[in-house]
Amino acid sequence: MMRKKTLKLVVTFHTTADAMAMEKACKTQNAPGRLIPVPRQISAGCGLAWCAELSEREQLQEILRAVGVEEQAMHECMV
C-alpha cells in the first residue's frame, strides 16, 4: 500500500544545478526537506523538486533569495 499523502511545499527549478544548489544551501542552514522526483500533478516529465513542510515557506524563500537560485514555482500539493 502506498503511504498516505500530506500537504507539502514543493519547489521546482529550471535546472538540476539549481535543485542541487538549493539542497546544499538548505543543508548548510539546517532547513529541513529533501529532493524528490517532480510530482505529476505539477509537471509531467522528469526533474527534481525540493519538498518541505508548509511552515518552511518563508525560510525557503529567504534561502532561495540568498543563494540566487531562481525557482520555477512554489507549490502546495499532496505528496
Partner: protein, 378 residues
C-alpha cells in the same frame, strides 16, 4: 540501497576500472602533446583502448574509433556532421532525446524527418522503414534498444536495408554497447555511437563513435590536436578529425580496463545473468493486479529493463516510495524518450524503470517483486 538504475549508469564500477583510473591519475601526461615519458604513457594507454574498442566492435582499424564524452556528443557529431539541408532522414519513435533534439535542430535548417512508428508493445514497425525511404533520403538513424522498454531492434536487418538503398546507417548503442555483440561491418553500420559508462562498465564522461573507413564526418568542434600546429584548419584524418582538445585520458584508461574485463568475463555470460534477473522480475510482477508492464517480452533477447506502472499512481510517487520504504533505486517520470511515452500512452504518468546488471542478485529482485506487490495492494 538496492540499485536498479543500471540503464542510467552501471553501479558499482568494477575494481579493475577504478584502479586503472587511479593509476592513470598518478602517471598520465597529456596524450599527443610532446614526447616525454608521461605524455607517451598517456598516448599508449589511449591507443591501447582505441585498439580494444576497434576489435570489440569489429572496426577496420583503431583509427576509425574517435573518443567523445558520451553518446550524446557522438550522436550530435554524427547527425550534424553528415546531414545537409534538403536531406531526408528516417528514424523511429523509440529514440532518445540525444537523437531527437539534434534532428529537430537540423529540421530547422531544412533537413526532413520521418518517424517510423511502433506496435502496442513498443516494437518498431520494420516494414515502415523501407516505405519511408525517398529519393532524397540520406540516412537511417535508430537506437539498438529502447531505453524505456528495453525492446531490442534487429540492427542487421535495418543495416542491410540501408546498404541496399545506398543510405548511411547510424546506430545509437547507448543501451547495448558492452551488453550485446556488435559487429559494425557485419551489421552494415556506418556510424556507431556509444557511451562508456553503461553496459561497458567504464567511467562517466567516456564514450565514442566508430566511423566507417572512407566516410567523412564534419567535426562538431575544432582546436588543439597535437599535430599540424601551423595549419589554420583542424586535421581531417581520423580519429584526430573528431577529437579536438585534451581527451579524458583518465576515463579512457578506465574504459580500456572495462573492455578487457568484459572480454575476459564473456559478454554472453554476463548478459545471460542479467536477462535471468530481468525475467525473474518480470514474471514476478506481470500478474499482480493493477501492474502494467511496457515492452515486448516475447523477444528472446532484450535489454535487462522492465518499465511499469501501478494503477494510476504517479510513477514519480511510486519510485519515491520504493526508495524511502524499501531502499530500491529506480528511475521514474519521462525517460528522455518523448515519442516512446506518447506511443505507449504514458506521457502524463511516466513509468518506473527497473534495470539490472551483473552486480545485482536474485534476492534483490525478489525484494523488489515483494515491494511492488505490497504497493499495488489497496
Amino acid at each position: 540501497m538496492i540499485y536498479f538504475d543500471n540503464a542510467a549508469t552501471t553501479l558499482p564500477k568494477p575494481r579493475e576500472v577504478i584502479e586503472a583510473v587511479a593509476q592513470a591519475m598518478c602517471s598520465m601526461g597529456n596524450a599527443g602533446r610532446g614526447a616525454h615519458t608521461a605524455t607517451l604513457g598517456a598516448s599508449r594507454i589511449i591507443y591501447d583502448t582505441r585498439e580494444k574498442l576497434a576489435h570489440f566492435f569489429g572496426a577496420e582499424s583503431p583509427k576509425q574509433i574517435a573518443f567523445t564524452s558520451n553518446s550524446t556528443e557522438a550522436l550530435n557529431t554524427a547527425l550534424k556532421g553528415i546531414l545537409n539541408p534538403g536531406n531526408h532522414v528516417v528514424t523511429t519513435v523509440l529514440e532518445h532525446n540525444s537523437v531527437l533534439r539534434p534532428l529537430y535542430e537540423l529540421e530547422k535548417t531544412g533537413v526532413e524527418l520521418t518517424f517510423v512508428g511502433c506496435d502496442e508493445k513498443g516494437m518498431v514497425r520494420y516494414e515502415e522503414i523501407g516505405e519511408a525511404i525517398r529519393e532524397n533520403t540520406r540516412a537511417i538513424v535508430c537506437t539498438h534498444a529502447s531505453n524505456l522498454t528495453g525492446n531490442l531492434l534487429d540492427i542487421r536487418r535495418i543495416g542491410e536495408l540501408a546498404r541496399a538503398h545506398g543510405l548511411l546507417f547510424i546506430v545509437d548503442a547507448s543501451q547495448t554497447a558492452g551488453v550485446f555483440p556488435i559487429d559494425v561491418r557485419d551489421m552494415k553500420i556506418d556510424i556507431l555511437c556509444f557511451t562508456g559508462h553503461k553496459g561497458l562498465m567504464g567511467p562517466q564522461g567516456t564514450g565514442g563513435m566508430y566511423v566507417r573507413e572512407g566516410l567523412s564526418v564534419r567535426p562538431l568542434k575544432t582546436g588543439g590536436s597535437g599535430v599540424q600546429t601551423y595549419s589554420r584548419e583542424h586535421p581531417k584524418e581520423m580519429p584526430t578529425a573528431l577529437e579536438a582538445g585534451t581527451l579524458n585520458g583518465h576515463g579512457i584508461a578506465g574504459l580500456g580496463a572495462a573492455v578487457e574485463l568484459l572480454e575476459a568475463a564473456g559478454l554472453d555470460k554476463i548478459r545471460a545473468y542479467e536477462q535471468e534477473l530481468m525475467r525473474l522480475f518480470y514474471e514476478g510482477v506481470k500478474e499482480i493486479p493493477g501492474v502494467r508492464v511496457y515492452g515486448d517480452f516475447s523477444q528472446k533477447e532484450r535489454c535487462a529493463i522492465v518499465a511499469l506502472n501501478i494503477g494510476d499512481y504517479d510513477s514519480a510517487e511510486v519510485s519515491d516510495e520504493l526508495l524511502v520504504t524499501y531502499g530500491i533505486a529506480t528511475r521514474a517520470g519521462g525517460h528522455c524518450a518523448p515519442l516512446m511515452h506518447k506511443a505507449l500512452g504514458t506521457v502524463e504518468q511516466g513509468a518506473v524503470r527497473f534495470s539490472f546488471s551483473w552486480h545485482n542478485t536474485k534476492e534483490e529482485v525478489e525484494t523488489a517483486v515483494r515491494a511492488i506487490r505490497e504497493l499495488a495492494e489497496n
